[in-house]
Each structure stands twice: as structure tokens, then as C-alpha cells.
């Protein structure tokens, strides 16, 4: 039954993908955008459809009627898309029929299909991604539950960008699996786009190889399946924007300029660091299209597609980049402790040098303090870097790829220093790296070419092994071999704590809130506020130094319960412990829950006490 549900949800994702492609195709027709290759046209249509849909959801947000609004949006998109359905089918059939694959291409295409299928089933597992449980999905739930208003207690909820609108769409249509599937769809489309870029330089087999290498990159399959983060959409939009920029000189059409801008805007609107990739795309476009008219269309498209999260944050806080710009935009609203913690978490407080830039550019940067899949791109871009330098030519595609890749790497190195944020440019870098091997002349490069191909093969084999090891638990739950509850207890951090609080407090009063300090709050079903000062703006240790200040906060926020599990955060433990010792916080339920110790991948758990305390009125 679980497998049927997983396949059903994947079917729903496929239908939504068809809707986006058909909708986007009509939009491209309206804007008189010229045709590219048949696969590129399908991907371009998908990108256009998704970005415009996301902007529609952003507009609907202002009504706070998410379920009705998104339902209406889907119907509207369907009405626009229906006349295009036949054309899309014809395009797909023509692409498949005209493919005429060789034996090696058939094998590669089968491998791509197999990996995409495995990842699709894996993506249908219940949500366990750490950041997703804290804010990617939780912020969407806040909107659905409380309407379109800020939640300062989860400061990361202000990072809710345009790609998150797809998560909101899935959840508002009543399905977490659909939301997860829409995240996964971004990865599949990014692989297709990477193949198109590689195909422009090399025979088709190399394009398929680039797609396979992308799908088997640990960071990418983690992003597509378990992370629950929509960042992989940025990779798709950047790659499509690069294809548009490379096509601009031949076509010189304002439609293409507009959509390039729209995709750049979608990247900027997805995440703050996306602004760096968007600026890199703007630079590449400026290089290729030195006409004021084209630039105006580019800028207009970018603003229209990407301004929404910044406008929202500005209207709520006065700082479009909240909380990072609060020192300049909103001086009277600073929580220094939380700001420092968030900057440390996002890597914004660290500094980098030229060596770091080189390792970032080749996707070989690594922070030993935080080992994990989110840093692991694999060695291909580093190993094949010399071949890229040999292969580079003064063509529009090379210029667009080089400017976007290098400028993004430079920007990320000197602002956040986290290699994960380079994901948007990874498909173009990987496509350039892999296709550069194809361009080596067999006669004078026999040995190096053979070793390069062997390296790519080994990396792919390791990727397959990594995929099977890493995704074994989600595959098991999606296939129904393990129950949802059992899987969540085993794999989701803080799930037992949330379950304990739900069981103890459900039905104790609908408006009274619970103050919790554990990070992963998505599975809480009771009204709550998050209280860790490392990520909660109103919990300022400088202002909450006394028990009285805490009691005032409890009254103001209607907090009736406090959960200690097992200790209070160190920065605020003093006054809370005083309240407990003085009898203002009364223990009412005590128990024990098991949770991970250290990194989740170590799979080591420890049982710790959990206490629910009632605030004495």
C-alpha cells in the first residue's frame, strides 16, 4: 500500500510537471520566444511554467487563502495549458522517436532512468531533513495554519523563498509527498538541463553521462530526496538561463532576454545567496547582449520573478535580507545573539582567501568541522579542471558558462564560504568538465583520455554505491517494508520528543502555546513557539536576563507550557532554572526519549529525559 501511495504521489508530480511544461509553452508562445532544440524547448517551457506559477503563489499569499488560492491557480494554469497539451505530447514523441540511440547511449539512458526512478521512490519517504524539519516545510505549515504573517520565533522562516512556493503548493494540496516530489522534480530537470549544455559541446552520450554524473553526486541526490530543501531548483534555473544567454546572439529576441531575466530572478528569489548567481548571470548576459532594450527586459523579468521574498521581508521587518541586513535597515530590532548564531550557521561570518576560492571553484572545498553529504560534490570538477582549460573557446556558451561559474564561485567564497551554496552552478561546471574530455583529440591524448573516462566510471560506480547505502532506509519505507512511524522514530531527529509533547498536550487548550527548545519542530501538532536563542528572534538573552522578563514573555505570547529536553539552552538557562526552583514552572509530565548523538549518519542514539512544565498563573 505504501508503495502504491508513493507511486501515486510520483504520478501526481508527473501530472504537475506536464501542467508546468504546457503552461510554460503557452507563455513562451505569447512572448514570441524562439525555438531551441526539442529537449531544450521542453525544459525551457517547464522553467517558465514553474517560475510564473511560483510568482502566482507569492501573489496569492497576500490573501492568506492558500488552499483556495493555489487551487484557483492550478485551474487557471490548466485552462491556459490545455490547448498546448497536444503540442507537448507531439514534442515528446518526436524527441523519443527521433533519438535513434546507439547501444552505449541506450545503456546510459537506461542507467539515467533507473537512477531517476530509485531517487523518485526514495524522495517519497516521510520528511527527515534537518533544515526542512526546522523551516523549509515548517514555515509553509505556519502559513497554512496562521495565514501570511511573520513568525519571528523561527528566524529561518524568513528564508522562505520562491522555490519554497512549490513546497507550499504540495502541502496546500494536502500532500507532503507531493511537496517532496516537487523538490525532486527540480533535480530531474536540472539533470536534463546539464545534459543539454554538455550536448552543445559533445556527442549525445556525453550529455547523458553528464546527467548521470549529476544525479549520482551525493550532494545532489541528498538535495533531491532526503533534504526537503528546494535549492536544487536554482541549479535548474541557472542552467536554463545559461542556455538562453548562449542562444541570445543568434536569436537576439527580447523574449529570450525576458526569460533569461526571469530565470535569474527566480534564482535570486529562491535564497539570499542566489543573488550572487543571479548577478553572475546578469554579468554574462551583459557581455553577450550589449543592448539597452535587452537589458531592460532582463532586469524587468528578474525583478518580477524574484522580488517577492525581499518585498515580504521588507514589509515585515524593514530589512529585505532579514536578519542579515538588520544592522543597516532596522537598528532598533537587533538580537545580537541570534544574529551571530545565524551568521555562524550559514557561514556568513567566516573569511576566505585565494586558495579557498580555487577549491570552491573546483567544488573541492571542505569544512572538516561539519563533515557530511551536504559538502560532497565528488572529485570530477577538480580532476577534469585542466581539460576544461584546454577545451575552453571564445564561444557564447563557453563565455556564459565561464562567467557564471567563476563569478558565482568568487561571490560565494567571499560571502558565505559554504560549498553547498555553489549547487546552482554545479550542473554547468559538471557539463563543462565531462564534455571537455570528449573534446580531447584521441591521437595525442590517448592515455589521459582513457584515464579520465576510467575516473568518471569509477566516480559513477561509487555514486551508485553511495546512493544505495544512503537511501536504503527511505527506499524501505517508501516501498512499505518499514512503517512510517518506525522510520520516523529511527531516522527523524527530535521525532520522539515531538511525539511525546503531542501525546501529552493534545487537547489541553487550543490557544495556549508550548515553548520548545529542540530544533526539529515540523512534527509538533500543538500550538508552539520555538525558544532556542540560536534561531529565535524574540528570545534575546540580553533582554531575558531575569525571571520576570520570562514571565512577561509567557503572558504576552500566551505560553502555558515549557518543554525541557534535557536541558535549557546555556544562554538562557539561568532565569528559567530560577523559575523552576521558585515554583513558577511546575513539572507535570516527565519521560524519556531517544535521539541522535552527534551526526545522524553515525546512527548512534541516546535516551535523555524530557520534562513538560506548566507555567503557574
Amino acid at each position: 500500500m505504501a508503495l502504491v501511495r508513493s507511486l501515486g504521489a510520483l504520478g501526481g508530480v508527473a501530472l504537475l510537471a506536464l501542467l508546468f511544461v504546457s503552461f510554460g509553452r503557452r507563455l513562451l508562445r505569447w512572448t514570441k520566444t524562439p525555438s531551441l532544440s526539442s529537449v531544450e524547448n521542453l525544459l525551457l517551457s517547464a522553467a517558465a511554467g514553474v517560475v510564473v506559477f511560483e510568482a502566482g503563489v507569492a501573489l496569492v499569499s497576500y490573501t492568506s487563502k492558500f488552499r483556495i488560492g493555489i487551487g484557483v491557480l492550478v485551474i487557471l494554469a490548466l485552462a491556459v495549458a490545455i490547448p498546448e497539451l497536444r503540442g507537448v505530447f507531439r514534442n515528446v514523441v518526436a524527441t523519443v522517436r527521433g533519438a535513434n540511440f546507439s547501444a552505449i547511449e541506450k545503456a546510459l539512458a537506461a542507467a539515467v532512468f533507473l537512477v531517476v526512478s530509485l531517487e523518485g521512490i526514495s524522495a517519497m519517504a516521510p520528511l527527515t531533513g534537518s533544515d526542512a524539519l526546522h523551516y523549509h516545510f515548517t514555515a509553509a505549515e505556519f502559513y497554512l495554519r496562521d495565514g501570511f504573517r511573520p513568525n519571528f520565533f523561527v528566524v529561518h522562516s524568513f528564508f522562505f523563498g520562491q522555490s519554497h512556493q512549490l513546497i507550499l503548493t504540495g502541502l496546500s494540496l494536502g500532500s507532503e509527498k507531493l511537496a517532496l516530489g516537487l523538490v525532486y522534480l527540480g533535480g530531474v530537470l536540472a539533470a536534463g538541463a546539464a545534459a543539454c549544455v554538455a550536448r552543445r559541446w559533445a556527442p549525445r552520450a556525453w550529455g547523458l553521462l553528464a546527467a548521470l554524473a549529476l544525479l549520482l553526486t551525493p550532494l545532489v541526490f541528498w538535495q533531491m530526496t532526503l533534504s526537503g530543501a528546494p535549492d536544487v531548483w536554482m541549479a535548474f534555473f541557472v542552467t536554463m538561463a545559461v542556455i538562453c544567454i548562449a542562444s541570445y546572439r543568434d536569436q537576439s529576441c527580447v523574449g529570450l532576454a525576458l526569460w533569461t531575466g526571469v530565470f535569474a530572478g527566480a534564482v535570486a528569489g529562491a535564497k539570499y545567496t542566489g543573488c550572487i548567481s543571479a548577478a553572475s548571470l546578469a554579468l554574462a548576459f551583459l557581455w553577450e547582449a550589449r543592448s539597452l532594450r535587452a537589458q531592460v527586459f532582463f532586469l524587468g523579468g528578474a525583478l518580477w520573478a524574484g522580488i517577492w521574498p525581499y518585498a515580504r521581508n521588507f514589509s515585515w521587518t524593514g530589512d529585505p535580507f532579514f536578519p542579515f541586513g538588520v544592522r543597516w535597515f532596522s537598528l532598533n530590532n537587533i538580537n545580537h545573539f541570534t544574529l551571530a548564531a545565524v551568521m555562524l550557521y550559514t557561514g556568513a561570518s567566516r573569511h576566505a582567501g585565494a586558495l579557498k576560492f580555487l577549491s570552491m571553484t573546483t567544488f573541492a572545498a571542505f569544512d572538516p568541522a561539519r563533515p557530511g553529504f551536504f559538502q560532497y560534490y565528488g572529485p570530477l570538477c577538480l580532476v577534469l579542471a585542466p581539460f576544461v582549460i584546454l577545451a575552453i573557446r571564445n564561444t557564447p556558451l563557453w563565455r556564459a558558462v565561464a562567467i557564471t561559474w567563476l563569478a558565482s564561485s568568487l561571490g560565494i567564497t567571499f560571502t558565505s564560504d559554504m560549498a553547498r551554496f555553489l549547487l546552482p552552478v554545479y550542473p554547468i561546471a559538471l557539463a563543462a568538465s565531462i564534455s571537455s574530455v570528449a573534446r580531447l583529440r584521441e591521437s595525442s591524448w590517448r592515455l589521459a583520455k582513457a584515464l579520465s573516462v576510467a575516473t568518471v566510471g569509477c566516480v559513477l560506480l561509487m555514486g551508485i554505491a553511495g546512493l544505495l547505502i544512503y537511501e536504503r532506509y527511505p527506499l524501505a519505507v517508501s516501498a512499505g517494508l518499514v512503517s512510517r512511524e518506525e522510520y520516523l522514530r529511527q531516522r527523524a531527529p527530535d521525532y520522539e520528543r515531538a511525539e511525546f509533547v503531542n501525546q501529552a498536550l493534545l487537547g489541553t487548550g487550543s490557544s495556549e502555546k508550548t515553548l520548545v527548545f529542540f530544533r526539529h519542530i515540523y512534527y509538533l501538532n500543538v500550538p508552539f513557539v520555538y525558544g532556542d536563542p540560536g534561531g529565535s528572534w524574540p528570545i534575546d538573552p540580553e533582554k531575558l536576563e531575569s525571571p520576570e522578563a520570562w514571565l512577561a514573555l509567557f503572558r504576552r505570547e500566551n505560553i502555558r507550557w515549557v518543554v525541557r529536553s534535557p536541558e535549557y539552552p546555556a544562554a538562557i538557562a539561568g532565569p528559567l532554572q530560577q523559575l523552576e526552583n521558585g515554583g513558577a514552572l511546575v513539572p507535570v509530565v516527565e519521560g524519556e526519549t531517544a535521539d541522535f548523538v552527534g551526526k545522524r549518519i553515525e546512527d548512534v542514539k541516546r535516551t535523555t529525559p524530557i520534562v513538560i512544565l506548566r507555567v503557574r498563573s
Binding site: 557530511g372 553529504f373 580532476v383 591521437s443 590517448r446 589521459a448 584515464l451 579520465s452
Partner: protein
């Protein structure tokens, strides 16, 4: 360049790039070993809890 000269140049070029391919991978995996530590710990923990 003579045939012999161009062959030698190709061999040197190939050797340099082959060295790079191997050296870069050795460096990369040595650098990323800490990332595999948790996985190894997990396996160890399962075998000898």
C-alpha cells in the same frame, strides 16, 4: 617538429595530465576522509555495539 619530437611531446603531455588525474584524486579523497568517518563509525557501531 619531427614525428619523434611530436610523439615525445604527446607522451610528456599525457604523463603530466595522468599524474594530475591521480594526484588530484588522492588529495581529494584524503581531504574528504573525515566525511566518511561517521559512516565508518556507524558500521563499527552496528558490528560492535
Amino acid at each position: 617538429m619531427t614525428d619523434k619530437g611530436s610523439k615525445r611531446a604527446a607522451m610528456v603531455k599525457n604523463s603530466v595530465f595522468c599524474f594530475w588525474i591521480v594526484a588530484a584524486q588522492v588529495w581529494y579523497y584524503a581531504r574528504f576522509m573525515p566525511a566518511f568517518d561517521p559512516l565508518l563509525k556507524s558500521v563499527r557501531h552496528r558490528l560492535w555495539p
